[in-house]
Assembly symmetry: C2
Homo-oligomer: 333 residues x 2
Amino acid sequence: MSANLRDVARQAGVSVGTVSNVLNRPDVVSPKTLERVQKTIAQLGFVPNGFARQLRSGYSRTIGLVVPDVANPFFTEVARGVEDAASKRDYAVFLCNSDESLEKENKYLSVLIQQQVRGVLITPSDSKSHQYENLRERGISVALLDTETKNASQCSVSVDDVRGGEIAIEHLASLGHREIAWVTGPETIPQVADRTAGVMRAAKIAKVEISTIRVALMNSAQGTDAVKKILALKKMPSAIFCGNDLLAFGVMRGLLDAGIKIPEDVSLLGYDDIAFGNSAAVPLSSISQPAYQLGVTAAELLISECEENEVHAHQQIKFQPQLVMRASTATKK
Amino acid sequence: MSANLRDVARQAGVSVGTVSNVLNRPDVVSPKTLERVQKTIAQLGFVPNGFARQLRSGYSRTIGLVVPDVANPFFTEVARGVEDAASKRDYAVFLCNSDESLEKENKYLSVLIQQQVRGVLITPSDSKSHQYENLRERGISVALLDTETKNASQCSVSVDDVRGGEIAIEHLASLGHREIAWVTGPETIPQVADRTAGVMRAAKIAKVEISTIRVALMNSAQGTDAVKKILALKKMPSAIFCGNDLLAFGVMRGLLDAGIKIPEDVSLLGYDDIAFGNSAAVPLSSISQPAYQLGVTAAELLISECEENEVHAHQQIKFQPQLVMRASTATKK
DNA sequence: TTTAAGAATTGACACGATTCAATTGCAGAG
DNA sequence: CTCTGCAATTGAATCGTGTCAATTCTTAAA
């Protein structure tokens, strides 16, 4: 098998402590010894055993990233940001998909504990108080991703989803729409709950009537299904706002298939502003979130928390969403 | 700090050996003791330290996944497959984006070695002989992902890109197209080279003339740029085949902006069949690859290689691409 | 030549789980 | 009551590295 520290020490005629010093604190070793040991290391092709090293030091250079689903382009972008930022600081990233299941989330957290990650970046799958005490007790830093926390004892990086909901309704209202369908997922998802709050608040002010269409999963297929429910409403809305772009794509498809024109017959607004919005059948207006930036910021925050553990001041960073107007929203006829 | 094996043993009133047995060979422990120890484990929230375990056993339960870019929906799907399959066998996955740079690829491989991964799944960023001897020497299994190998000493899971290129041209030729533009990235990318080979072979048989338009990066923006080059050709092709769907989306946008109708004026065919093809301005015909399945298969193969190292028979699995016809390709007028 | 201070080196112990030879406990046979 | 055999449990040794108090070596000053 491969050589270990002891082998190198024996071969070079020094003690294991000296070899260890050669590796970790070369300045305390005499030049002559240093050279001899380094030569021996090269000769034996010695590579320090990472397990032993990490066991001893207690720290790894890894973080865990737990998102509902990387296949969602929004989270793909976030993941890219996390990965780039982590890599820049020589951290490796474990990727975990929770599929919005608490059970899976917990399973992954336990795996991450086993792997002794230094920190965890997580988009929680439900709105309960996200204490993650079991992680903290083990000295694993936790930062919330795309989720706000009221709790000042942890970092979070989020986008103002309430504001996002408001912007959307303000935009549609300013185009003259007074009946709007709000197509979205379960309120247990924090982002959904916030966007709904924003929608309702802005609707009240703008005197807009909201019909909520609830779907179980926020993907394209369920968007197409939702169209049936929209068409079954007693009064057809003149605008539709979707909880994310995937849903909006599905809705768009359903509407076009039903012969309904966008934006002439109905305006359609998405959320996330994923890259394909541009290329859609009708270029999709959307609420844009700085996904990549979110990932980068979160990773940097988490790693800085890991490395300066005692003197770390928790931060709650909140980005602002932005309206991106394309062709799918227009003035009400 | 967090509890260790000794703490559990003390609390449960048994020896460390017994606790270890509870975890690893529950069958040799008496039911009564088993239950008591498990209760204690739950109570203390004990999670075994992966480093210590790995130091002793010599193996980790982690693999590395190196892809050009997860933000490419094809690789996102692959990554999901890898992650699901790995998780099912209790492996954790390191995510690495090489951005098609050899330098980054090597940097990540070195990080993965440091992390002592058990195996690596990689989509190489150039077509050189992919030996990865430095990994093998360290006992790290390597399997190629979305790349074929002639080398029988490693596993690979790929899609028949030559055939994919053929299918594309055969399809377009059968629709009556005789002048086709082939818009693609650098030939140093193995997949590109293979698809080009298939394109050329099929073109020769079908007596089709191919104009190759080369772009540096296979993304949407460069697709739009490529349209200028297409329009500058001495003879306008009646069909355009793109190296991937992202490129095709860009080309579609460029064509539509130029007032060119799809598929009336020109047929457009993509590659990868990403989920958004459906929702595009003109639903995009494409060559479909079983991305998720590719990821699942590769992960299973790699893990089985890791675990039965001596008796492992290397396999080269090749999936077949498939034509998915939507609205963007039609008979030549 | 002696001495003191600083530099260099040593080696036992710790990290936490696994392993396995040795020990204990227990039931049934004689 | 003793003995045998099996099941259950024990705990010391081990994996390879980092740490640090203790020791040895070196050098320059007296």
